[in-house]
């Protein structure tokens, strides 16, 4: 978690209070606690994971549910997988792209934030990027540029325009 970076990093899943997670998402994305209902949270190394509520048998786990954020650097970074699931609850630091720009974003490219996106509405940092109401994933908005954070294996090929 931000603010606790001097704590030792342990390679085990440790439960973490949902409110601590929700507070960060509220601050950055205006997301209410209801976005996280039915989930429990764990911290391992520098990442936070969310999994459906319920008993977890005592096994040695490789992963628990979904890795939703990385706290390795500041500011913390949401994962694209998490934004695709939770992004619809966001109310600020959103970018709604049109077709051509959405395609560039899905290809992993950097681009100037289009005029129609109203740059004044975004604070520099990580943003949720939408196309036609779908949360596509995580972007980094900085100095007027929108830098795609889509992981390599989930990018579109540059010649696949006809498929969007």
């Amino acid at each position: 978690m931000p603010g606790s970076s001097r704590n030792r990093v342990r390679n085990v899943f440790e439960p973490i209070e949902p409110l601590r997670v929700a507070k960060l998402w509220l601050e950055r994305f205006g997301m209410g606690i209801e976005a996280f209902s039915g989930l429990q949270f764990f911290k391992k190394a520098n990442s936070i994971w969310a999994i459906s509520e319920g008993d977890l048998p005592r096994y040695s786990y490789e992963s628990l549910g979904m890795r939703i954020m990385s706290c390795k650097d500041r500011p913390w970074k949401p994962t694209t997988a998490a934004l695709q699931v939770l992004g619809r609850h966001a109310s600020k630091n959103l970018v709604h792209l049109e077709r051509a720009e959405a395609l560039l974003f899905l290809q992993g490219a950097s681009q100037s934030l289009p005029e129609y996106c109203n740059p004044d509405a975004c604070q520099p940092g990580y943003v949720v990027v939408f196309y036609r109401g779908d949360a596509l994933g995580c972007g980094l908005y900085s100095h007027g540029m929108l830098v795609s954070q889509i992981p390599k294996e989930r990018r579109m090929e540059s010649r696949s325009e006809e498929q969007l």
Binding site: G38, L39, A50, I51, S52, G54, D55, L56, P57, Y59, S60, Y61, E62, S63, L64, G65, M66, R67, T79, A81, Q84, V85, L106, D134, L136, E153, R154, R155, M156, E157, S160, Q163, L164
Partner: protein, 309 residues
């Protein structure tokens, strides 16, 4: 060289053997499962129509689609996790397992997670799916698919499935490593690596995995064993041995376990065999199901459903 020769030892057990042999060289269409964790079926079908992607729904499973796309994996709907590219019959074992929301389910050989995520969606993200995969390299694909599809109730472990620690699961799926003869239409040349010796080697591992699953199911729990191969050594003979059937007398009814009939309405199955190379197997093996590519225009699969009493 006759590439289909490894199939010839099944001449006596496969109906219409010539058609079975001939269909192997016909490529399989692409298919996908609609991921209801992220989108409703009607909404997804509407999007495919809008994008001009021709599709055809399976007759036996409303969430399965045949897709007419050159690179279905690169479709926007796949990148967004609204669909998952998955072979048609690979969608069958989770339906036979029949997991319910809130249950505790173990997928013992999980990667790349097609069946894991199908189980998760059948459970509506409630309860827990423990997805086990010993290979670190294969865990990456499993994790990636679970995250892309938004499966929030999946926890991944990396045990040797034969030595998975104690547990009490409502349902256990053993989609075992196998010689994959049933994948020839997907990956031509698969058959050239198949023979009885290899199947007998895999048999040892498969029996170990199924015995482990039987141990890990709770009383009343369900264990499903599946492979994508035709070899009896990897199918009926595995179930027979794991259940401890007396193979000499052909006596049925292993105490503590019951084989249940596998039927998926809309798919043509053949009953599991009860005799192989002069050896009688338990008559209950006819409750297991063999799926052949020429009967359903699919790949090949074998599925057994066992209830722990």
């Amino acid at each position: 060289m006759d590439l289909m020769a490894p199939l010839d030892r099944y001449r006596e057990i496969v109906p219409d053997f010539q058609a079975f042999r001939a269909v192997q060289s016909l490529p399989l269409y692409s298919s996908a499962r609609i991921n209801t964790l992220k989108i409703k079926r009607e909404a997804l079908l509407g999007r495919l129509e809008e994008a001009g992607v021709p599709y055809q729904c399976f007759s036996w499973y409303p969430l399965g689609l045949k897709l007419d796309a050159a690179s279905p994996g690169k479709l926007l709907e796949n990148l967004l996790g609204n669909i998952h590219i998955q072979e048609e019959l690979s969608m069958a074992p989770p339906l036979v397992l029949d997991p319910r929301p809130g249950e505790m389910v173990l997928d013992l050989c999980a990667s790349p997670g097609s069946k894991t995520t199908q189980i998760s969606q059948m459970m509506e993200d409630r309860g827990l799916v423990v997805a086990n995969e010993p290979s670190l390299a294969r865990v990456a694909a499993l994790r990636s698919n679970c995250e892309r599809l938004g499966a929030m109730n999946v926890a991944i472990t990396r045990y040797d499935g034969r030595m998975f620690p104690r547990g009490s699961f409502d349902r256990v799926l053993v989609d075992a490593p196998c010689s994959s003869e049933g994948r020839e239409r997907r990956g031509p040349g698969t058959l050239t690596r198949c023979n009885a010796v290899r199947s007998r080697e895999l048999h040892v591992l498969q029996v170990g995995l199924l015995k482990s699953a039987l141990r890990l199911a709770k009383p009343g729990g369900v264990v499903v064993y599946s492979t994508c191969t035709y070899a009896p050594e990897e199918n009926e003979l595995v179930v027979q041995e794991a259940l401890g059937h007396d193979d000499q007398s052909g006596q049925s009814g292993c105490p503590g376990f019951r084989l249940e009939k596998v039927v998926l309405p809309g798919l043509l199955e053949c009953p599991g065999i009860t005799e192989w190379e002069g050896r009688s197997l338990s008559p209950d093996m006819n409750r297991t199901a063999r799926y052949y590519p020429h009967l359903n225009d699919t790949g090949g699969f074998y599925i057994a459903r066992i209830v722990k009493e």
